[in-house]
C-alpha cells in the first residue's frame, strides 16, 4: 500500500488529477448503481457543475497568482463584486463579450488598490483585503443608484439590480460528438455512461464564457511554470530576497500579479452576470472566499485548485437538482471514501488514530444513509465546507503554500 501511494505522488500533477478523477468517477458510478440515483452522474448535472465551477475557478486562479507572488488576497470577494458591477454596466451597453472585459476591468481596479496598500504602503495584507471586501459593495451600490435606477429597456434597473444585458452569451456544441455522447449517457451503462457524461459536459451546450475560464487553467500552468515571467513571479512568493539579489523587480512584479489577480476575480464576477444577464446585489454569495478555500485545498496548484472549485460547485449544483436520492447517495459515497481511506491507512501503517476516526465517521455516515429519508438541504449546503475544512486540517503536513506568502516585504530586506 505504501508503495502504491508513493507511486501515486510521484506522478506529475496532470496524471495525478486524471487518476484521481478516474477513480472518483468509478466510485460515483458504483454508488449510483447501488443507490439507484442515476442523476448523480447524469450529463445535465455535470454540465451544471462545470458551469457553476467556472466563476469559482476564475476567482481561485486569481488568488493563485496573488499568493504565488507572496501576497495573501482575502479581498477576492470584493474584487469579484466590482467585477459583477462593471460587467453589467459594460454588458448592458455593449453586449456579453464587453461584459467579460468590463468585469475584468472592475476586478483590476480592486487588485491595484490592494497592491497600493500592501506593496507601496506596507499595510497588512489581510487587513487590506478585508477593507476591499468592505468598500466594493458600497461602491457598487452607489454606482447603481446613479447609473442603473430606472434605466434599461423596460426600466428594470434598480439600486440592487442592473438593466439586462443586451443578449445572452453564446453557447457552443460540438456537432455529432455531443449528440453521440448524449445517447450513451442516457443509456446509463455502468461507468461507460458516466464517462460519457463527463466528456459530454465539455462539448455540449457550454457557454463561451465558461470555456474561456476553463482554458485559463492550462494557460496558467504554462505561464507560471514555463515562462520566465512565471518563474520570477513564483520566486518572489518563495524567497523575495533571493529574487531581488538576482535583479528581479519585486515591487513591480507584485503589482503585476495583483493586477492579474484582480482581473481574474473580476472575470469570475463577469461570468455570474453573463449567466443571468444581470447584476444583482449579493450575487457573488461568498464565492470569493470559496475560491480562497479552493486555493488552499488545491495546494496552490492550478489543477488542484480546479478540482477544489469543482467540489464546491458540485455541492452547489446538487442543491438545486431535483430529489434527494442523489444527495442521499452522496453520503453513501463519502462513507465509502472514508472507509477506503481508512483501509489505506491501516495497511499503509499510518496513523492508527486517524484511521479509527475515519472508520467511525464512515460507519456514522452509512447509518445516516440507511436511516434518513430525505437529507435536509442545509446539511447538503454545509457539506462542501466541512469537507474542505477536514481536508485542510488533516492534510496540513502536505500543505505547500508559497514560503513567503503573507510576509510583509520591504525593499532591501535581508530575509
Amino acid at each position: 500500500m505504501n508503495n502504491l501511494s508513493a507511486r501515486f505522488f510521484a506522478l506529475s500533477p496532470v496524471k495525478r488529477a486524471l487518476v484521481a478523477t478516474g477513480l472518483g468517477l468509478l466510485a460515483l458510478a458504483i454508488t449510483r448503481v447501488i443507490a439507484g440515483a442515476d442523476d448523480l452522474t447524469s450529463g445535465n448535472t455535470l454540465i451544471a457543475t462545470i458551469a457553476a465551477a467556472a466563476p469559482i475557478i476564475a476567482v481561485a486562479l486569481g488568488g493563485l497568482y496573488s499568493e504565488r507572488s507572496g501576497v495573501a488576497n482575502i479581498g477576492l470577494e470584493g474584487m469579484m463584486v466590482l467585477g459583477t458591477w462593471f460587467a453589467a454596466f459594460a454588458g448592458w451597453h455593449w453586449g456579453p463579450w464587453a461584459a467579460l472585459v468590463g468585469g475584468a476591468f472592475g476586478g483590476l481596479l480592486g487588485g491595484l488598490l490592494h497592491a497600493l496598500a500592501t506593496v507601496t504602503f506596507g499595510v497588512d495584507q489581510i487587513i487590506s483585503g478585508v477593507a476591499i471586501n468592505f468598500i466594493a459593495p458600497g461602491v457598487a451600490r452607489f454606482l447603481s443608484s446613479e447609473l442603473f435606477v430606472g434605466k434599461g429597456a423596460n426600466g428594470e434597473g434598480t439600486i440592487s439590480g442592473s438593466p439586462n444585458i443586451k443578449h445572452a452569451m453564446g453557447r457552443f456544441k460540438v456537432p455529432g460528438l455531443a449528440g453521440w455522447l448524449k445517447t450513451i449517457d442516457n443509456k446509463r451503462w455502468f461507468f461507460i455512461s458516466d464517462l460519457a457524461a463527463v466528456l459530454r459536459a465539455f462539448v455540449d451546450n457550454m457557454a463561451w464564457s465558461t470555456l474561456i475560464i476553463l482554458l485559463l487553467i492550462p494557460i496558467s500552468i504554462y505561464v507560471l511554470w514555463r515562462t520566465p515571467f512565471g518563474l520570477r513571479l513564483r520566486s518572489i512568493g518563495e524567497k523575495p530576497s533571493a529574487a531581488e539579489s538576482l535583479g528581479v523587480a519585486v515591487y513591480r512584479m507584485k503589482y503585476i500579479s495583483l493586477a492579474i489577480s484582480g482581473s481574474l476575480a473580476g472575470l469570475g464576477g463577469a461570468w455570474l452576470v453573463v449567466n443571468v444577464r444581470q447584476y444583482n446585489e449579493g450575487q457573488t454569495a461568498g464565492r470569493g472566499f470559496l475560491g480562497l478555500a479552493a486555493l488552499i485545498f488545491g495546494n496552490w496548484q492550478p489543477i488542484g485548485v480546479a478540482l477544489g472549485a469543482l467540489l464546491f460547485s458540485y455541492g452547489l449544483s446538487l442543491q438545486e437538482t431535483i430529489g434527494s436520492k442523489p444527495i442521499k447517495a452522496l453520503y453513501l459515497f463519502i462513507a465509502g471514501a472514508f472507509l477506503a481511506l481508512c483501509l489505506f491507512m491501516v495497511f499503509g501503517r499510518r496513523s492508527k488514530r486517524a484511521a479509527l476516526g475515519l472508520a467511525i465517521s464512515a460507519a456514522g455516515l452509512f447509518t445516516f444513509y440507511v436511516n434518513t429519508e430525505k437529507v435536509a438541504s442545509q446539511i447538503v449546503y454545509v457539506t462542501p465546507y466541512v469537507i474542505v475544512l477536514i481536508v485542510i486540517t488533516f492534510a496540513s503536513k502536505h500543505s505547500r503554500p508559497p514560503a513567503a506568502v503573507g510576509v510583509p516585504w520591504r525593499r532591501g530586506q535581508s530575509t
Binding site: A117, I132, F134, E146, Y385, T393
Partner: protein
C-alpha cells in the same frame, strides 16, 4: 503639557485626521461628479442626525456594534484575524433566542443567563478554529470563513427543525424572548435625571452594558498579566516567547474571548428591539465590526468613537433621501475612510518608529566594537 505628551497626541491624531480628510474629499468628489451638492448633503445629514430620535437610534445600534468590534479587536491585537465573528454571532443569537423561552427566572437572572448562553456559544464556536490553529497549524482566516458558512447552515437547520415557533407556520422564527429576559428601557431613569425622551425613542439598557464591557476590555488588556502577554505577543512574538509566554494557550484563549464577545453583542439586539431570531435579525453586524475595530485601532476608546461615528453616518444618510441625494454616498464615505485609515495608520506608525530609532542611533557617542554597523530593525506586525 510636556513635549512628549504633545508629540503623543499629535501622532495619535495625525493618521485619523488624514484619513478623514481623504474620505471626505473623495465623497465630495463623487457627489459633485454625479451632480449633487456636497454642502446640501452635509446639511441634510446634520439636520437629520441631530434629532433626539436619531441619537437614540444611533446609540442603540452602536452599542452592540461596539461590543462585537471589541471582540474583533482583541484578536487583531494578537495578529489573529477572527473573520469568523459572523458565524459566532449568528449561532449565539439563535441559541440564545431558542433557549431563552425554555426556562424562566426572575428578570435580572434571566437576562444574565441568556447573555451567558450567547457568550458561551460564541466562545465555543470560536474555539474550533483556535484549536485547529494550534494543533494542526490551520490558517485561521480560511477555517473561520468555512465555519461561517457551516454556521449559516447549522443555524438554518436548527431553526427549522428544532427551535421553530410552531404557532407561526409560515415564518421560520423562534419564539419571542420572554419578557423576563428582555433588557429594560432607560427612559425612566433618564426622566429621573431630567432628560425627557419622546415616547417612541426608547434608549435600551444594552448601552451601559456595552460601556461596562469596554471598561472590562481596557482592564483586561492593559491591567492584567494576560493582557500584557497578549500585547507583547502581538507586537513582538520573539520577545514574547523569550519572556515565557505560552503562545498556543494565548491563541485559544484570545479567540474564545473574541467569539464570546461576538455572541454577547447579539444579545444587544435580541433582548431589545428584535425579540426573536428570524430573517430580519440584523446579521451584518460582525462584518461592520471588523471595519470599526480597524478604524478604532483596536483601542476601546477609539472603537467607541468609531462605532458612534459609523452609526451616525449610516443613520444620517437616511436624511439624504429628502434632498434626492443617494444615501449610498455614506457607503462611499465609510469605505474610503476605512481604506485611507488603514493606509495612513501604517504609514504614520512606521514613520514614528523609524524616527525614534534614528534619533537614538545618532545620539550614540560611538559603538564599542569597531566594525559592526548598527542594524535597523524592520518594524513588523499589524497596527498595534
Amino acid at each position: 503639557m510636556t513635549h512628549a505628551t504633545v508629540l503623543k497626541i499629535r501622532s495619535a491624531l495625525l493618521a485619523p485626521a488624514i484619513a478623514i480628510v481623504v474620505s471626505v474629499v473623495v465623497s465630495a468628489f463623487a457627489l459633485q461628479v454625479s451632480g449633487h451638492s456636497s454642502v446640501a448633503a452635509l446639511r441634510a445629514m446634520f439636520n437629520y442626525v441631530t434629532t433626539t430620535d436619531s441619537l437614540v437610534s444611533i446609540l442603540n445600534r452602536a452599542a452592540p456594534l461596539y461590543v462585537v468590534s471589541l471582540g474583533v479587536a482583541i484578536g487583531f491585537k494578537m495578529n489573529l484575524f477572527n473573520i469568523g465573528a459572523d458565524g459566532q454571532y449568528r449561532l449565539a443569537a439563535l441559541m440564545a433566542a431558542g433557549a431563552s423561552s425554555t426556562f424562566s427566572l426572575p428578570r435580572p437572572f434571566h437576562i444574565l443567563a441568556v447573555m451567558l448562553i450567547a457568550t458561551a456559544v460564541g466562545a465555543a464556536w470560536a474555539a474550533i478554529p483556535g484549536v485547529l490553529k494550534v494543533t494542526r497549524n490551520v490558517n485561521e482566516v480560511v477555517s473561520t470563513i468555512m465555519l461561517n458558512f457551516v454556521a449559516t447552515g447549522i443555524s438554518a437547520y436548527l431553526l427549522i427543525n428544532y427551535m421553530r415557533n410552531e404557532s407561526q407556520p409560515n415564518v421560520a422564527e423562534t419564539k419571542s424572548v420572554p419578557k423576563s429576559a428582555r433588557l429594560p428601557s432607560l427612559n425612566g431613569l433618564l426622566e429621573d435625571i431630567g432628560i425627557h425622551l419622546p415616547r417612541l425613542a426608547v434608549l435600551n439598557s444594552f448601552l451601559p452594558i456595552a460601556i461596562v464591557v469596554g471598561i472590562l476590555f481596557y482592564i483586561l488588556v492593559w491591567r492584567t498579566r494576560f493582557g500584557f502577554d497578549l500585547r507583547v505577543t502581538g507586537t513582538n512574538p520573539a520577545a514574547a516567547k523569550t519572556s515565557g509566554v505560552n503562545a498556543k494557550a494565548m491563541i485559544v484563549k484570545t479567540i474564545m474571548i473574541s467569539g464570546g464577545l461576538a455572541g454577547l453583542a447579539a444579545t444587544g439586539f435580541l433582548l431589545t428591539d428584535f425579540t426573536k431570531y428570524n430573517e430580519t435579525f440584523p446579521l451584518g453586524l460582525p462584518f461592520t465590526g471588523i471595519a470599526v475595530a480597524l478604524l478604532g485601532r483596536n483601542h476601546p476608546g477609539g472603537i467607541a468613537v468609531a462605532a458612534f461615528a459609523w452609526m451616525s453616518v449610516e443613520t444620517a444618510s437616511r436624511g439624504l433621501l429628502d434632498e434626492k441625494i443617494p444615501p449610498e454616498i455614506s457607503k462611499i464615505l465609510l469605505g474610503t475612510l476605512l481604506i485611507s485609515s488603514v493606509i495612513s495608520f501604517e504609514v504614520v506608525r512606521r514613520r514614528t518608529l523609524t524616527q525614534a530609532i534614528r534619533q537614538a542611533a545618532s545620539a550614540t557617542p560611538g559603538a564599542h566594537s569597531g566594525g559592526l554597523p548598527p542594524t535597523e530593525p524592520t518594524p513588523a506586525g499589524a497596527t498595534a
